[in-house]
Each structure stands twice: as C-alpha cells, then as structure tokens.
Symmetry: D2
Subunit: 223 residues, 4 copies
C-alpha cells in the first residue's frame, strides 16, 4: 500500500497534464521522490496510465473506476482495465465524479479484489464518516468550494480535516485520511499532518504552476 | 477518414479484449485487413489506445468521449486525451453509453475540431434522422434489443437499416451509415451493404468467438 | 392542441411559484388570457398540477416527464401520472433537465399516445433541427447562456430563432417553434413572432417580477 | 415523527396506484390503521400528494426529493414543494432512485430543516452503517435482488436485517431501521420486528394484490 505520509497529485483532465505532459510531471515527481524519500503518487487519465507506468517508479493511480464487471459497458472505465494497464490504485468518488452510495460500496469491493489501492474522496466530516464504514485504504476529504482555490483547506477550514480524522478513526483506525483543496506548498502539507492527516491530495497547485518542480520540492519539504 | 465499406469492431469492456488481449485482436484484424484489403477499425478501452496504436496500422478508435473541455473533470474522457494517445476516431452515444442531445452536438463539434472520425450510434430510424442534423462522419444504427443477440439486425429488422439509410441521406447525403446488432458473419455484412449501409459495427460476434481470426475472415468475405 | 401564437410560462422550482403561489400565478394568467383572448399556458411542478387544473381554464403543463412505463420507478415522473392529474401537456428536455436522444424519442412517443401536448426544448439551430425529426407538437429553442438573463434571445441572438424556424420547418412544417431565454416584455414577444416563432417560453421574467400581472399584460400586448 | 413499529407502503409508479387509485389505497390503509391502531404511512407520486393528504389521516410521504434549493431546476422534485403539498415525509435514495453520497447528505439536511420525516434506503449492512453517519430518522434496508420478489428479506436474508440494525445502532441508537423486499404478510412483518427492525417498507406485495385490504389487514396483524 501507498506509504504515508504521502503527496498524491491528481492531474485531472488538464491539457498541461495530458499525454507526454502527464509523463513529464510523473518523471519530475519520481526524481524528487527518490531524492527526498518522500512518498508520492500520481493519478492520471486512463489513456495515460500505460504511458507512465513503464517510465516511473512512483505509484500511478487511475482517476476513476466505474462500478462495473467485465462485459457490455462501452466506454466506461473497467477496474480491470486500469489494473492491467499498470495502475496500482485509483481515486473513487472524486468531487468532479461523484458516485451513488451503493456504487461507492461496489467500487471499493472491486478495488479490494483487484488489490488496487483506493482513495475515496469526500466533501465533509459526515461523508468522511459514512465512507469509513466501507473500510477503504484512504479517505481524502476536500470541501468542493475550496477546490482549485487560493486558500488551503488547512487554513480555510482546519476543523474539517481534524474532524474527518477523528470521525474516520472512530469508525476504523486503519483507514488513512488525506486532505485536499487549495493545497499549494510545504507549509500546507506540514499543517495537514499536524492536523492528523496522512498526507494531501492536490491538483491545480502543481499542474497549473509555471515551475512544477519547484512547487513539488516545496510540497515535499512539508513532510 | 475511415475508408468504406468497413468493418468496425467495438471490444467494449470484455475481459477477452482488455490490455494485451485487445492488442492481439487488433493485430489479427490488421493482418486480415492487409491481406484482404478490407477496411477495418477497432474501438478499444481508453487504457488500451496507446498499447494498440503503436503496433497496428488499422485505425484505432476510442469507445467514447465526454462533452468536456480540458480542465477540472477528474476521471472523465477528455477528447484531447484519446486523440493524443493516438486514436484517430471515436464512437459517440453508444447504446451502452447514451448522451444527452445537446451533448451529442458538443461531442461531434469537438471531434470535428480535433479531426477525429466519429461514429454516432442510434437506435432507430428517427434517432438516426435526428443525428444526421449534426452532419457526423458516420451514424451506426443498432436496435438495442438485438445487441449481443443471435440474429443479425440485417435479418431481424432489415427495414431499420434501409430506413435509416434513406432518412439520413435525405438530411445529408455525405453522412455514412453503418448498422449493427447481432452481426456475426460475412452474409450479414453483405446484406448490410445490399441494404445501403456502408459497413457494420459489431462486438460480441468477434470478441466472444473461440476463433476470432476465422470469424474476422468470414466477416471480411462479405465485402 | 395549444392555440398559437402563445405565451408559455415555466415556473420552474421557484419558491415564488410553489404550491398556492403557483395557483395564484395561474389564476392571473387565466384572467388575462380570458380578457385579451391571448393563448397562455403554465408549466408547474408535479406537486402543483392537481391544485391548478381545477381552478383555471388555461392549459396546465408538467415541467417534465421521464421516459418510463408504469411499474417500479420510485420517485420518477410517470407520464400517466401527470396526465391523470390533469395536465394537458408537458415540457420535454428542458435545458435544466436534459434527456438522452433515445429518451427524447421515447418521451415524445409516450406523450403522443397519452395525447399530451409536448414542447421539446433545444439549445441551438442544429438541436432544433434534430428534434424536428420526431415531429413533436412544439420545439422551444433557448440558448442556455441567455436563460435567466436580462437580454432577450430575440435581441441577443435573433438568428437562432429564425434559423431554428427555418431548419425545423424544412424537416416538418407542422412543428411549431417557440423561443425563450431572457424574454421579458411585449416587445420581445412581438419580435419573436416577427422572427417566425409561434410564441415564447419564459420563466424568471414573470416569476421573479414584483408585479406579475403587469408583466403578463405587457407580454400579452405583444401578440 | 412516524410512530413505530410501522408499515410503510411505497406505491412506486404503478398504474394500479396512480391518481384516484393511490387515494383508494391510502383510504384503505387509513381505515385499517384507525381500526387496528397500527402505524401506517403511504409514499405516493408527487402528482398525488395533494390528492391524498386532504382525504386521509395516515402520514403521506413523497417517494423522492432532489438535493436542490428553490430556483432554476425545471422538473426536479423540490423538497419544499412536497412539503407544501402536504407530505410529512419522504423516501431518500430508494433502490430505483439512487443518489450520490454527497447528495444523500444534502437531502437529509434539507429534510431536517423542513421537518420532513425521512427514510433513507440502503442495500446492505455496510451502506446502512454508512447512512447512519447522517443520523436520519429512518434507514430502510432492502437487498435489490429481492425487491419485487416472492421471498421476504426476513426469510431469504435475515442476517442483513439484524446486521443492519446492529451496525446502525452502534453508530447512532436513535436511528430507526425498517426492512423491505419481498415482504408480503403478517408473518414477514412479525419476523422483521423479531429481527430488531422497527417495521417494514413494501410495495408490490400490496399494490399488485387483487385484494389490497386483505393483504393490508394481514400485514397489520404482524404488529
């Protein structure tokens, strides 16, 4: 399982992180992770998993899996397909790709069967607590209104982080908790750990940065 | 643009056509296409596009694109991502992945901008006629109740094929029409062309066959 | 069928038009329609159909029907239920409640069988043309970016109105065309008819007005 | 709040329970409830709430609410609209109308604000436990594969009932638990209570019965 504390980058569907550019970011993370010893992972578009897995040692995640079994599901994301492409984990229920409650349960079950690490995204303390019932590897709490913004959740709403950690650990102390939304630098990362989280999930802070390496090194310094 | 008459294989999310197995089917098609001169294309899962494009000369399609622009759309299928991965075309609105009317319009516009061939799937004469308004490259009519079944649409409901061809050509004679559902052999392919179609779209007839090469050669014989 | 030219009010889910307040608006429209002879109809929430139909003579529409048959569809809008409640028509595919292409086809078929008038909403010239393939009673073109705004579609984008009228009539001259988005006064209504439309579909211009009767009388003056 | 133990009937979108026929069933339940003192409630289609509330004393529920605020949501089910129509409660997340995790949270919050009783439907022990995090009034566990079938959940899978009761009460002992799927007679009801549930949620067992009154009296005898 993904080592903690960790920094997980979700590159979403940014052009700055599509195809070869996703690989370049993965390679930068790979280099920094090896130099610093900080655990890092990258979640890329389904099309880019194969491209990345052969060239980097950091774990490559899918951004999403659909709650389907092999068969007639044209164009949906089969969990087995991301696993076979080389992803070792996946995001589930990202705020931009919400799932029904019963489907979160299904996706987590499938991920466990396929031995895929899984980070279930939630939006507040109560949904984090609810998700903990499924005993996922990770829960990543991200208030949607702060996603993509300039102020880190660790500053804007520290209680949602510590509150989620408390609520989740009360249900199952083995579930790890990440936090995200507005995370941009090492200070935000350090604060997340101080609040009890096992790391951060972030996106635009790195993907939209002019100098991604500088930002990534700064983030790593927070651990 | 994809040469017609053509045979387009959609491998869906079958395990028998995931990862390396998708590539093997693509390679078989590639061999037969080169030997026979019959135009063939394969639509594979997003994860498998990169794997296939470098190893075969036949056109590789995506099974789906989402009506989104680059940005914050975690886990959705960005049209630019399948294009950059090497797909030269895509299915749109497959019966297992239906889109809203306005989104079909958006997807076709995006496909045209990215120079992606696009096959818009429909379920009857009227939806084929409606789709023709958008002037897509291809419309593939497939009655959902016959998909995955034992009787070809060309036998079970030939009027839906000829009726769609007529309706579509009346709106725009440059739009090509494929037909699908239950297509399994060369006779079905020949009949589709006799009914005015420019080829077939099929899936289980090949993917679930024990000897895929035999089935593919038989299909090619129909052209 | 709804007499044209006509003014159709969609009250959406505004609190100012829920329950007894929907009825009050319907009664105001009823009075003005009778005094002026101008054809008017109101689309109300499913909960409010029964409340309104017994108290007004103007046609009461549903805001939506789902493409379902009677049976196990808890909480979805059964077309038979709005018909039995007394609605004589329904909106289909409103911009805030888009449907898949195949489902628009189904809804129109069901509406025809139940003898429900039906207004299929579209967002531009091409989707209007596509919808015309189904020969609905009405198509209402509304550019989403102008909905709820201050400038009427008849001023901001007159070509979308005349272009939709042309495209639709070329497919089937019996299909009536309404236009909407930003429509607020009699001048906008008059312009819509000048552009070839058979009336308007509007919402906030009336529902959010302090004096709804004044606005409705002004709208009626445009016909 | 709905008195327990209770029998809640969801009439879905059956024609046998649309319009005046929904009212007739409600009236039968009302009579039996008064005669026997057994707590009963009926969930009807949005169109039929007004029709029923004025004619019966048993609580009338909506079958669904959407996670929306008043405004521009054409054709969706505004919680305020069912409340104003007279419903005193609502189902949330029925197996035929699943919601995203974050939306279940929103719907429960809205229901609490509007003072609407709310029954959150779940499909197994873990989703019941997850839903309990939100402290709803009721959770109704129904294994989808048994819904509409001939064997009661209390016979086919008693552990899912007792397991859900245990899991839910461990999270919050004030949350009541109903069970459903295949429930048809008084023995099933009695067994549900023996398993720790506070009553049953059922549909076809009553709605599809030739003699609804006989079935309802039998069900009541189980309490």
């Amino acid at each position: 399982m993904l080592k903690t504390p960790t920094i997980v980058l979700n590159v979403k569907t940014y052009l700055e992180a599509t195809g070869i550019k996703a690989l370049e970011i993965a390679q930068t993370m790979d280099k920094i992770s090896q130099e610093t010893g900080v655990s890092m992972a990258i979640a890329v578009q389904a099309t880019d998993i194969t491209l990345c897995v052969n060239k980097v040692k950091i774990p490559v995640f899918a951004e999403h899996i659909d709650p389907i079994s092999p068969g007639s599901h044209t164009g949906w994301t089969l969990p087995e397909s991301v696993s076979e492409a080389g992803a070792i984990g996946t995001l589930i229920n990202h705020s931009e790709h919400r799932l029904k409650l019963a489907d979160i349960d299904s996706c987590i079950n499938i991920a466990k069967k396929l031995n895929l690490d899984h980070i279930v995204c939630t939006n507040n303390v109560l949904t984090s607590k609810a998700a903990a019932a499924f005993k996922p590897n990770f829960i990543a709490v991200e208030p949607p209104e702060l996603i993509g913004g300039d102020i880190s959740v660790t500053t804007a709403d520290p209680d949602i982080v510590s509150g989620s950690v408390d609520a989740v650990k009360k249900i199952d102390k083995n579930v790890k908790v990440l936090c995200g939304a507005g995370v941009k630098n090492g200070k935000d990362v350090a604060k997340s750990i101080e609040l009890g989280a096992d790391g951060v999930l972030l996106a635009s802070g790195v993907v939209k940065a002019n100098n991604k390496e500088t930002v990534l090194r700064d983030l790593a310094s927070g651990i």
